[in-house]
Amino acid sequence: MTANQLSTHGLDLRYGDRLIVGGLDLVLPGGAVTAVVGPNACGKSTLLRGLTRLLAPAAGTVALDGADIHRMPARALALRMGLLPQQPVTPDAITVEALVRLGRYPHQRLLSPWSAADQQAVEEALRRTGTEELRHQPVDQLSGGQRQRAWIALALAQDTDLLLLDEPTTFLDLRHQLDVLDLVAALHSEAGRTVVMVLHDLGQAARYADHLVVLKDGQLAAAGAPADVLDAELVKSVFDVDCRVIPDPETGTPLVVPKGRAKRHTAVSA
């Protein structure tokens, strides 16, 4: 019942001497879309690196369905969990299709040839992300939104039940942000993937996530359904911003509206 559930127990993550995430006990529900939010430098991306084994914990454990991920073979973990890093490195002049094909790496043995199953997974990933027409184009010549979709396609070709995305909407304009988030929502609702993503925009997080994890200074500030946890008090304590939280007129999910601070704004809102 708890398939694809990530959990941490007393997790400490450090860079050298610096403690970034301290004593974190967290459960990220399987089969849901979880958004991790928090102010800059609160440890969101570090947490994602800890969850994907890119960073070994200084203390505590990370478990996937109860099994310590640091005791799993790298390939076995890569078959269950994929990550889109915040700033992925695009190889020189690589085409979209060649990039997406690399997502099949954990499915291949050292000398195994490219299989029909591999090609099928790549086609499916290209189709889902709408990058079929771009397949022969070099990734470094695409627009930001197209490039992000190509990278998501790589993670999809990996064919994992769990998908982690580190700020997938950063550097994108509003329309492309929504395109990416709609794609993520479809991956969850149509393909049944468990998604964990770091987001900056609280309103988008509330709209697209079933579960919200709020971090502050490497500590858990709140966790739960967006409607339950996101209120003015939380935003004040975590982001130090005075605001009102109102129902989103479109979706009814919580919408954070900062109080006016500059004079010209206070005049209007008063």
């Binding site: 076995a76 078959l79 990550l83 992925p88 190889p91 184009q137 470094d140 010549q141």
Partner: protein
């Protein structure tokens, strides 16, 4: 995190059809490979037909395969073929070693002859020669020297976050220091050894024997095969450590494996030819220019192009230059110096990428 390639480039220029552009690029690899093979066959023919006694090309090629006059067979198989095969195998080894290092470090200057590996290999070989070891030990000695250079480079040049430019500069210093040590040992040798030691200062394929070609050359071929077996890992490494790690690749192990293969290839090639310059540095760029971005196919092309370049340079040194007896390393170094300058200038004007 500095090696970000999220450059904010605009959409590809609308005048260029990307689909056809890709098709043209794809079909270039077999075409370039075919051209390379034709040139290589021509060079092989020239190589076996010429010498102290010029032979008709058809007779010479027949002799290469053991057919025809016994005298011709002897001359071609025992005197001319080893030198020719040494140039081919060493050229391929140097070029693939260079291609691997350049991709691993994401820097066009990262090549075994710039970073001290071939200098180290020569140093190892000359030191063994001075100690009175037999020719059979040369590949091992060269390999040890190449690894020594890599360790020196690691000790002096490597700090986490160090820029590759710094690494290259330290590599140049290592190469210069080891070459100086080689020259010192060569001039202090007794005269009867000085002749055979000379190849270690500039690189030469003069007087190679089948024993040397089989031992070092065989190992180079094994290294080449391993490079292709591990190519998929290299492609995943190109994605950066985070993506490669989440795809299940142990990035440290994979990087070390490919680094060792590159050093082994370059060192053993240097065991055959001495520190021949330019081949490892330039061939990957030429292939990139002719056949497009790096794939397993272009790696194979690099091997072919390296073989062509070294064999052609050796023929130029033997027959086209007015001064006879020049080692092939002089020809490649003459080509290499301006090439290195151009690369340095282009490198300093573009954005420096660093490697973790």
């Amino acid at each position: 995190m500095n090696d970000v390639v999220r450059s904010a480039k605009p959409l590809g220029s609308p005048t260029q059809d990307p689909a056809t552009g890709r098709k043209a690029e794809r079909s270039r690899i077999p075409l370039v490979a075919l051209a390379g093979l034709v040139v290589l066959c021509a060079l092989v023919t020239v190589s076996v037909a010429n010498g102290e006694i010029p032979l008709p090309p058809v007779e010479a090629v027949k002799g290469l395969f053991g057919a025809g006059e016994p005298g011709t067979v002897l001359v071609v198989q025992e005197f001319r073929a080893p030198r020719m095969v040494a140039a081919i195998v060493a050229g391929a080894g140097l070029a693939v070693g260079g291609a691997l290092l350049q991709r691993l470090f994401r820097n066009p200057l990262a090549s075994p002859d710039v970073m001290g590996v071939t200098g180290g290999a020569s140093f190892g070989a000359v030191a063994m020669l001075a100690a009175g070891a037999s020719q059979v030990m040369m590949p091992l000695a060269a390999l040890g020297g190449g690894l020594l250079a890599a360790v020196l480079l690691g000790v002096f040049g490597w700090r986490s976050g160090t820029s590759v430019t710094r690494l290259v500069l330290v590599g140049l210093a290592v190469q210069a220091g080891l070459s100086a040590a080689v020259s010192f040992m060569v001039v202090s040798f007794p005269t009867e050894l000085a002749g055979s030691a000379l190849q270690w200062t500039t690189g030469s394929v003069y007087g190679r024997t089948w024993t040397e070609v089989w031992s070092a050359g065989g190992a180079v071929v094994v290294g080449l095969v391993l490079a292709f077996v591990l190519h998929r890992r290299l492609a995943v490494l190109d994605l950066g450590d985070d993506s490669a790690g989440t795809l299940g690749l142990n990035t440290h192990t994979a990087r070390l494996q490919i680094l060792v293969i590159a050093i082994v290839l370059a060192s053993l090639a240097a065991a055959l030819t001495g520190p021949v310059a330019f081949v490892a540095l330039a061939v990957p760029h030429m292939v990139r220019f002719l056949a497009g971005p790096p794939t397993a196919g272009t790696l194979a092309l690099s091997a072919l192009a390296g073989a062509v370049l070294l064999l052609a340079s050796d023929l130029v040194a033997q027959y086209l230059l007015p001064v006879s007896g020049l080692p092939v390393g002089v020809v490649t170094a003459t080509l290499g110096a301006p090439w290195l300058l151009v690369l340095m200038i282009r490198q300093s004007s573009s954005v420096n990428r660093s490697v973790r």
